[in-house]
Protein backbone atom coordinates (compact mmCIF):
# COMPACT_ATOMS: atom_id res chain seq x y z
CA UNK A 1 0.00 0.00 0.00
CA UNK A 2 1.47 3.29 -1.01
CA UNK A 3 2.25 5.58 1.77
CA UNK A 4 0.33 8.84 1.82
CA UNK A 5 2.59 11.81 1.17
CA UNK A 6 3.46 13.66 4.37
CA UNK A 7 1.71 16.95 4.67
CA UNK A 8 4.10 19.89 4.48
CA UNK A 9 3.88 22.09 7.52
CA UNK A 10 3.07 25.69 6.63
CA UNK A 11 6.24 27.76 6.89
CA UNK A 12 5.36 30.58 9.22
CA UNK A 13 8.50 32.61 8.52
CA UNK A 14 7.96 32.64 4.77
CA UNK A 15 4.36 33.74 5.18
CA UNK A 16 5.35 36.62 7.42
CA UNK A 17 8.14 37.59 5.06
CA UNK A 18 5.83 37.61 2.10
CA UNK A 19 3.28 39.63 4.02
CA UNK A 20 5.93 42.17 4.99
CA UNK A 21 7.15 42.45 1.39
CA UNK A 22 3.61 43.05 0.29
CA UNK A 23 3.03 45.83 2.81
CA UNK A 24 6.35 47.45 1.98
CA UNK A 25 5.50 47.40 -1.70
CA UNK A 26 2.16 49.03 -0.99
CA UNK A 27 3.81 51.68 1.16
CA UNK A 28 6.50 52.30 -1.48
CA UNK A 29 3.95 52.73 -4.23
CA UNK A 30 1.92 55.09 -2.01
CA UNK A 31 5.03 57.16 -1.25
CA UNK A 32 5.93 57.29 -4.95
CA UNK A 33 2.46 58.48 -5.83
CA UNK A 34 2.28 61.06 -3.02
CA UNK A 35 5.82 62.46 -3.18
CA UNK A 36 7.52 61.37 -6.31
CA UNK A 37 10.03 64.31 -6.32
CA UNK A 38 11.35 63.33 -2.90
CA UNK A 39 11.62 59.71 -3.95
CA UNK A 40 13.57 60.78 -7.01
CA UNK A 41 16.10 62.71 -4.94
CA UNK A 42 16.39 59.94 -2.40
CA UNK A 43 16.87 57.22 -5.01
CA UNK A 44 19.50 59.08 -6.99
CA UNK A 45 21.09 60.94 -4.08
CA UNK A 46 21.54 57.85 -1.93
CA UNK A 47 22.90 55.64 -4.70
CA UNK A 48 26.34 55.34 -3.01
CA UNK A 49 24.59 54.14 0.14
CA UNK A 50 22.74 51.41 -1.76
CA UNK A 51 26.00 50.37 -3.39
CA UNK A 52 27.74 50.29 0.00
CA UNK A 53 24.89 48.17 1.38
CA UNK A 54 25.25 45.67 -1.45
CA UNK A 55 29.03 45.33 -1.32
CA UNK A 56 29.38 45.38 2.47
CA UNK A 57 29.70 41.78 3.67
CA UNK A 58 30.55 42.60 7.24
CA UNK A 59 28.10 41.67 9.97
CA UNK A 60 25.81 44.58 10.75
CA UNK A 61 26.71 46.40 7.50
CA UNK A 62 28.86 49.09 9.14
CA UNK A 63 30.03 50.46 5.77
CA UNK A 64 26.43 51.06 4.69
CA UNK A 65 25.67 52.90 7.92
CA UNK A 66 28.86 54.91 7.65
CA UNK A 67 28.39 55.96 4.03
CA UNK A 68 24.63 56.34 4.46
CA UNK A 69 24.90 58.61 7.46
CA UNK A 70 27.11 61.14 5.77
CA UNK A 71 25.34 60.68 2.44
CA UNK A 72 22.08 61.76 4.08
CA UNK A 73 23.86 64.88 5.27
CA UNK A 74 24.53 65.68 1.62
CA UNK A 75 21.01 64.85 0.41
CA UNK A 76 18.88 66.25 3.21
CA UNK A 77 19.37 69.99 2.49
CA UNK A 78 17.96 69.51 -1.03
CA UNK A 79 15.05 67.46 0.27
CA UNK A 80 14.34 70.25 2.69
CA UNK A 81 14.56 72.73 -0.17
CA UNK A 82 11.99 70.67 -2.02
CA UNK A 83 9.63 70.38 0.94
CA UNK A 84 9.75 74.04 1.83
CA UNK A 85 9.60 75.33 -1.77
CA UNK A 86 8.30 74.02 -5.06
CA UNK A 87 7.62 70.31 -4.44
CA UNK A 88 7.27 69.25 -8.09
CA UNK A 89 8.96 66.87 -10.46
CA UNK A 90 10.49 69.80 -12.38
CA UNK A 91 12.12 71.13 -9.24
CA UNK A 92 13.43 67.68 -8.37
CA UNK A 93 14.84 67.19 -11.84
CA UNK A 94 16.46 70.64 -11.69
CA UNK A 95 18.13 69.72 -8.44
CA UNK A 96 19.31 66.36 -9.67
CA UNK A 97 20.73 67.74 -12.89
CA UNK A 98 22.83 70.34 -11.07
CA UNK A 99 26.44 69.13 -11.06
CA UNK A 100 27.21 71.02 -7.89
CA UNK A 101 24.35 69.26 -6.09
CA UNK A 102 25.55 65.87 -7.29
CA UNK A 103 29.07 66.75 -6.20
CA UNK A 104 27.78 67.63 -2.74
CA UNK A 105 25.70 64.43 -2.41
CA UNK A 106 28.33 62.05 -3.74
CA UNK A 107 31.15 64.01 -2.10
CA UNK A 108 29.39 63.54 1.23
CA UNK A 109 29.12 59.81 0.49
CA UNK A 110 32.84 59.75 -0.35
CA UNK A 111 33.56 61.47 2.93
CA UNK A 112 31.51 58.77 4.68
CA UNK A 113 33.52 56.08 2.93
CA UNK A 114 36.71 57.88 3.96
CA UNK A 115 35.54 57.80 7.58
CA UNK A 116 34.85 54.09 7.21
CA UNK A 117 38.37 53.53 5.90
CA UNK A 118 40.27 55.75 8.32
CA UNK A 119 38.49 55.46 11.66
CA UNK A 120 38.81 51.69 12.33
CA UNK A 121 42.64 51.71 12.29
CA UNK A 122 42.62 54.68 14.63
CA UNK A 123 40.20 52.90 16.97
CA UNK A 124 42.26 49.71 16.74
CA UNK A 125 45.42 51.58 17.63
CA UNK A 126 43.67 53.33 20.47
CA UNK A 127 42.35 50.03 21.84
CA UNK A 128 45.79 48.45 21.54
CA UNK A 129 47.38 51.33 23.42
CA UNK A 130 44.76 51.09 26.16
CA UNK A 131 45.28 47.32 26.40
CA UNK A 132 49.05 47.71 26.59
CA UNK A 133 48.72 50.40 29.23
CA UNK A 134 46.43 48.15 31.23
CA UNK A 135 48.88 45.26 30.91
CA UNK A 136 51.79 47.41 32.06
CA UNK A 137 49.72 48.66 35.01
CA UNK A 138 48.86 45.10 35.99
CA UNK A 139 52.48 44.00 35.63
CA UNK A 140 53.53 46.88 37.87
CA UNK A 141 50.95 45.79 40.44
CA UNK A 142 52.28 42.25 40.28
CA UNK A 143 55.85 43.51 40.75
CA UNK A 144 54.75 45.45 43.81
CA UNK A 145 53.06 42.34 45.21
CA UNK A 146 56.19 40.26 44.62
CA UNK A 147 58.34 42.95 46.24
CA UNK A 148 56.10 42.96 49.30
CA UNK A 149 55.24 39.28 49.61
CA UNK A 150 58.00 37.41 47.82
CA UNK A 151 57.98 35.20 44.75
CA UNK A 152 55.64 32.66 46.33
CA UNK A 153 52.78 35.09 45.90
CA UNK A 154 52.79 34.16 42.21
CA UNK A 155 52.75 30.42 42.84
CA UNK A 156 49.40 28.62 42.95
CA UNK A 157 48.49 27.17 46.34
CA UNK A 158 48.44 23.60 45.00
CA UNK A 159 52.08 23.81 43.94
CA UNK A 160 53.06 25.36 47.27
CA UNK A 161 51.34 22.52 49.12
CA UNK A 162 53.11 19.99 46.94
CA UNK A 163 56.51 21.59 47.63
CA UNK A 164 55.77 21.65 51.33
CA UNK A 165 54.98 17.93 51.32
CA UNK A 166 58.15 17.06 49.44
CA UNK A 167 60.25 19.14 51.81
CA UNK A 168 58.84 17.39 54.85
CA UNK A 169 59.39 13.96 53.36
CA UNK A 170 63.00 14.80 52.58
CA UNK A 171 63.71 15.91 56.07
CA UNK A 172 62.58 12.50 57.35
CA UNK A 173 61.16 14.25 60.32
CA UNK A 174 58.69 12.55 62.64
CA UNK A 175 55.75 14.23 60.95
CA UNK A 176 52.98 12.08 59.63
CA UNK A 177 51.12 14.61 57.51
CA UNK A 178 52.44 17.44 55.37
CA UNK A 179 51.48 20.78 56.74
CA UNK A 180 49.28 22.57 54.24
CA UNK A 181 49.99 26.00 55.70
CA UNK A 182 53.60 27.03 56.12
CA UNK A 183 52.39 29.39 58.79
CA UNK A 184 50.93 26.63 60.91
CA UNK A 185 54.23 24.99 61.72
CA UNK A 186 55.78 28.31 62.52
CA UNK A 187 53.12 29.05 65.09
CA UNK A 188 53.00 26.11 67.42
CA UNK A 189 52.59 27.96 70.66
CA UNK A 190 48.86 28.33 71.18
CA UNK A 191 48.95 31.73 72.84
CA UNK A 192 51.60 34.46 72.92
CA UNK A 193 52.67 35.64 76.32
CA UNK A 194 51.67 39.01 77.51
CA UNK A 195 54.14 41.79 78.10
CA UNK A 196 55.51 39.97 81.06
CA UNK A 197 53.74 41.70 83.86
CA UNK A 198 52.75 39.38 86.63
CA UNK A 199 49.66 41.46 87.29
CA UNK A 200 48.00 40.60 84.01
CA UNK A 201 48.88 37.00 83.27
CA UNK A 202 46.32 36.54 80.56
CA UNK A 203 47.94 35.05 77.51
CA UNK A 204 51.04 33.19 78.51
CA UNK A 205 51.51 29.91 76.67
CA UNK A 206 51.15 26.86 78.78
CA UNK A 207 48.99 28.72 81.25
CA UNK A 208 46.33 26.03 81.05
CA UNK A 209 47.13 24.54 84.43
Amino acid sequence: MARAPAKQAPVKGNFKKNQMTLWLSVAFVTVIIMSLPTVLIVVFGLLPTFVAYVIDRAKGKPAAYCVGGINICGVFPYMLQLWTGDNSMNAAINIMTDVFVLAVMYGAAAFGWMIYQSLPPIVTTFMTVIAQHRVSTLRAQQRELVDEWGKDVSTPQEILDLGEGIELVDESAPIEEPDPEPQAAAQPAPEPPNAGTAETPGTVPGEAT
Partner: protein
Protein backbone atom coordinates in the same frame (compact mmCIF):
# COMPACT_ATOMS: atom_id res chain seq x y z
CA UNK B 1 60.17 6.57 83.38
CA UNK B 2 59.69 4.19 80.49
CA UNK B 3 57.52 6.79 78.84
CA UNK B 4 60.18 9.45 79.29
CA UNK B 5 62.80 7.15 77.82
CA UNK B 6 60.76 6.29 74.78
CA UNK B 7 59.67 9.84 74.02
CA UNK B 8 61.63 11.64 71.31
CA UNK B 9 60.23 15.05 72.20
CA UNK B 10 62.76 17.47 73.69
CA UNK B 11 62.40 17.56 77.43
CA UNK B 12 62.14 13.79 77.72
CA UNK B 13 64.48 10.89 77.06
CA UNK B 14 67.36 9.74 79.23
CA UNK B 15 68.11 13.31 80.24
CA UNK B 16 64.67 13.70 81.78
CA UNK B 17 65.12 10.47 83.73
CA UNK B 18 68.45 11.75 84.99
CA UNK B 19 67.02 15.00 86.34
CA UNK B 20 63.91 13.29 87.68
CA UNK B 21 66.00 10.78 89.62
CA UNK B 22 68.49 13.25 91.02
CA UNK B 23 66.57 16.29 92.13
CA UNK B 24 69.69 18.10 93.34
CA UNK B 25 71.69 17.44 90.21
CA UNK B 26 72.80 20.68 88.54
CA UNK B 27 72.19 21.24 84.86
CA UNK B 28 74.99 19.35 83.16
CA UNK B 29 75.32 21.28 79.96
CA UNK B 30 78.93 22.55 79.72
CA UNK B 31 77.70 25.97 78.69
CA UNK B 32 76.47 26.78 82.18
CA UNK B 33 78.30 24.12 84.17
CA UNK B 34 80.25 26.77 86.01
CA UNK B 35 77.07 28.48 87.07
CA UNK B 36 76.01 25.35 88.99
CA UNK B 37 72.32 25.69 88.21
CA UNK B 38 70.37 23.43 90.53
CA UNK B 39 67.08 25.28 90.88
CA UNK B 40 64.90 26.25 87.97
CA UNK B 41 64.87 29.89 89.14
CA UNK B 42 68.60 30.05 88.47
CA UNK B 43 68.51 28.72 84.93
CA UNK B 44 67.66 31.89 83.02
CA UNK B 45 69.98 34.10 85.10
CA UNK B 46 72.68 31.48 84.56
CA UNK B 47 72.17 31.61 80.81
CA UNK B 48 72.10 35.39 81.04
CA UNK B 49 75.46 35.41 82.82
CA UNK B 50 77.17 33.33 80.15
CA UNK B 51 75.42 35.02 77.23
CA UNK B 52 78.14 37.57 76.63
CA UNK B 53 80.91 34.97 76.49
CA UNK B 54 79.44 32.37 74.15
CA UNK B 55 79.23 32.01 70.42
CA UNK B 56 75.93 33.67 69.57
CA UNK B 57 75.30 31.11 66.85
CA UNK B 58 74.79 28.43 69.50
CA UNK B 59 71.26 27.92 70.71
CA UNK B 60 70.67 28.44 74.43
CA UNK B 61 68.34 25.45 74.56
CA UNK B 62 69.26 21.84 73.92
CA UNK B 63 67.87 18.48 75.05
CA UNK B 64 69.68 18.75 78.41
CA UNK B 65 68.27 22.15 79.26
CA UNK B 66 64.84 21.13 77.98
CA UNK B 67 64.91 18.04 80.18
CA UNK B 68 66.12 20.10 83.14
CA UNK B 69 63.24 22.55 82.64
CA UNK B 70 60.70 19.76 82.23
CA UNK B 71 61.88 18.04 85.37
CA UNK B 72 62.10 21.14 87.56
CA UNK B 73 59.54 23.56 86.18
CA UNK B 74 56.18 22.39 87.45
CA UNK B 75 53.99 24.04 84.85
CA UNK B 76 52.29 22.80 81.73
CA UNK B 77 54.82 23.40 78.99
CA UNK B 78 53.61 20.75 76.56
CA UNK B 79 52.80 23.28 73.79
CA UNK B 80 56.32 24.67 74.05
CA UNK B 81 57.85 21.22 73.94
CA UNK B 82 55.72 20.33 70.93
CA UNK B 83 57.02 23.45 69.21
CA UNK B 84 60.59 22.45 70.03
CA UNK B 85 59.96 19.09 68.39
CA UNK B 86 58.98 20.70 65.10
CA UNK B 87 61.45 20.08 62.29
CA UNK B 88 61.52 23.68 61.19
CA UNK B 89 64.11 25.91 62.76
CA UNK B 90 61.71 28.80 62.92
CA UNK B 91 59.26 26.72 64.95
CA UNK B 92 62.02 25.61 67.28
CA UNK B 93 63.15 29.21 67.81
CA UNK B 94 59.63 30.45 68.49
CA UNK B 95 59.05 27.53 70.86
CA UNK B 96 62.29 28.26 72.66
CA UNK B 97 61.50 31.96 72.94
CA UNK B 98 57.98 31.29 74.18
CA UNK B 99 59.28 28.82 76.77
CA UNK B 100 61.90 31.23 78.07
CA UNK B 101 59.38 34.08 78.04
CA UNK B 102 56.92 32.00 80.01
CA UNK B 103 59.58 31.03 82.51
CA UNK B 104 60.73 34.60 82.98
CA UNK B 105 57.19 35.75 83.56
CA UNK B 106 56.22 32.84 85.81
CA UNK B 107 59.42 32.81 87.86
CA UNK B 108 59.56 36.59 88.14
CA UNK B 109 63.09 36.67 86.85
CA UNK B 110 64.61 40.10 86.60
CA UNK B 111 65.49 41.63 83.24
CA UNK B 112 67.77 39.36 81.21
CA UNK B 113 69.71 41.66 78.93
CA UNK B 114 72.36 39.17 77.84
CA UNK B 115 69.92 36.34 77.17
CA UNK B 116 67.57 38.69 75.32
CA UNK B 117 70.42 39.76 73.11
CA UNK B 118 71.48 36.16 72.56
CA UNK B 119 68.01 34.92 71.70
CA UNK B 120 67.29 38.04 69.66
CA UNK B 121 70.33 37.42 67.49
CA UNK B 122 68.96 33.99 66.57
CA UNK B 123 65.47 35.08 65.60
CA UNK B 124 65.97 35.87 61.91
CA UNK B 125 64.40 32.57 60.71
CA UNK B 126 61.42 33.16 62.97
CA UNK B 127 60.95 36.70 61.67
CA UNK B 128 61.22 35.40 58.13
CA UNK B 129 58.15 33.25 58.64
CA UNK B 130 56.12 36.44 58.09
CA UNK B 131 55.12 36.75 54.47
CA UNK B 132 55.11 40.54 54.41
CA UNK B 133 58.50 42.13 53.84
CA UNK B 134 57.39 45.37 55.42
CA UNK B 135 56.23 43.52 58.55
CA UNK B 136 59.60 41.82 58.73
CA UNK B 137 61.36 45.17 58.42
CA UNK B 138 59.17 46.67 61.13
CA UNK B 139 59.97 43.81 63.50
CA UNK B 140 63.66 44.02 62.70
CA UNK B 141 63.63 47.75 63.33
CA UNK B 142 61.85 47.28 66.64
CA UNK B 143 63.95 44.31 67.75
CA UNK B 144 66.96 46.22 69.20
CA UNK B 145 64.72 48.37 71.37
CA UNK B 146 62.87 45.37 72.78
CA UNK B 147 66.11 43.46 73.32
CA UNK B 148 67.39 46.36 75.39
CA UNK B 149 64.47 45.97 77.79
CA UNK B 150 65.67 42.50 78.75
CA UNK B 151 62.09 41.22 78.79
CA UNK B 152 61.64 37.98 76.88
CA UNK B 153 57.82 38.12 76.98
CA UNK B 154 57.98 41.44 75.14
CA UNK B 155 60.40 39.92 72.67
CA UNK B 156 58.02 37.04 72.06
CA UNK B 157 55.10 39.43 71.71
CA UNK B 158 57.04 41.32 69.07
CA UNK B 159 58.14 38.28 67.08
CA UNK B 160 55.05 36.10 67.33
CA UNK B 161 52.12 38.42 67.92
CA UNK B 162 48.96 36.46 67.16
CA UNK B 163 47.16 39.45 65.66
CA UNK B 164 50.11 40.25 63.41
CA UNK B 165 50.28 36.62 62.32
CA UNK B 166 46.59 36.56 61.47
CA UNK B 167 46.76 39.82 59.54
CA UNK B 168 49.86 38.68 57.73
CA UNK B 169 48.25 35.43 56.66
CA UNK B 170 45.02 37.11 55.59
CA UNK B 171 46.77 39.85 53.66
CA UNK B 172 49.01 37.28 52.02
CA UNK B 173 45.93 35.40 50.83
CA UNK B 174 44.51 38.66 49.49
CA UNK B 175 47.79 39.45 47.75
CA UNK B 176 47.85 36.05 46.09
CA UNK B 177 44.28 36.48 44.97
CA UNK B 178 45.11 39.90 43.52
CA UNK B 179 48.15 38.52 41.74
CA UNK B 180 46.15 35.69 40.21
CA UNK B 181 43.39 38.09 39.22
CA UNK B 182 45.88 40.42 37.54
CA UNK B 183 47.46 37.46 35.75
CA UNK B 184 44.07 36.31 34.49
CA UNK B 185 43.29 39.79 33.20
CA UNK B 186 46.66 40.01 31.47
CA UNK B 187 46.10 36.65 29.82
CA UNK B 188 42.66 37.74 28.74
CA UNK B 189 44.05 40.92 27.21
CA UNK B 190 46.97 39.19 25.52
CA UNK B 191 45.10 36.20 24.16
CA UNK B 192 41.50 37.40 24.15
CA UNK B 193 39.44 39.62 21.90
CA UNK B 194 41.49 42.70 22.66
CA UNK B 195 44.47 41.26 20.80
CA UNK B 196 42.50 39.77 17.90
CA UNK B 197 42.92 42.01 14.79
CA UNK B 198 39.58 40.99 13.35
CA UNK B 199 37.71 41.81 16.52
CA UNK B 200 39.39 45.17 16.91
CA UNK B 201 38.75 45.97 13.23
CA UNK B 202 35.08 45.07 13.67
CA UNK B 203 34.91 47.25 16.74
CA UNK B 204 36.53 50.08 14.78
CA UNK B 205 34.01 49.68 11.97
CA UNK B 206 31.17 49.84 14.48
CA UNK B 207 32.61 52.99 15.97
CA UNK B 208 32.88 54.51 12.50
CA UNK B 209 29.26 53.61 11.73
CA UNK B 210 28.08 55.06 15.02
CA UNK B 211 30.05 58.24 14.44
CA UNK B 212 28.57 58.62 10.99
CA UNK B 213 25.01 58.06 12.20
CA UNK B 214 25.45 60.52 15.07
CA UNK B 215 26.87 63.16 12.71
CA UNK B 216 23.95 62.58 10.37
CA UNK B 217 21.36 62.91 13.12
CA UNK B 218 22.92 66.07 14.47
CA UNK B 219 23.13 67.58 10.98
CA UNK B 220 19.50 66.78 10.15
CA UNK B 221 18.33 68.14 13.50
CA UNK B 222 20.27 71.36 13.02
CA UNK B 223 18.92 71.78 9.49
CA UNK B 224 15.33 71.30 10.64
CA UNK B 225 15.74 73.67 13.58
CA UNK B 226 17.36 76.27 11.32
CA UNK B 227 14.51 75.96 8.83
CA UNK B 228 11.78 76.17 11.46
CA UNK B 229 13.44 79.06 13.32
Amino acid sequence: MKGYLQSKIPGNGIERCLYEFASTLPCLIPLIAEELVIHIEDLLPGLDNVANNVDKKLKPLDRHIAAFITARFRENIDPHLAALAEPKESSFLIGMLSLFAYMQWKLNNEDLYGLSSWVGSLLAPAINTYYSRSTRREIEDELPRVIRTGRLPELFELVDNAENRREDTEQYAVARFEYAKAEDEIQEIETGDMSDPETTAAAGAKVAAMTSVVISMCFVAVMIVAEVW
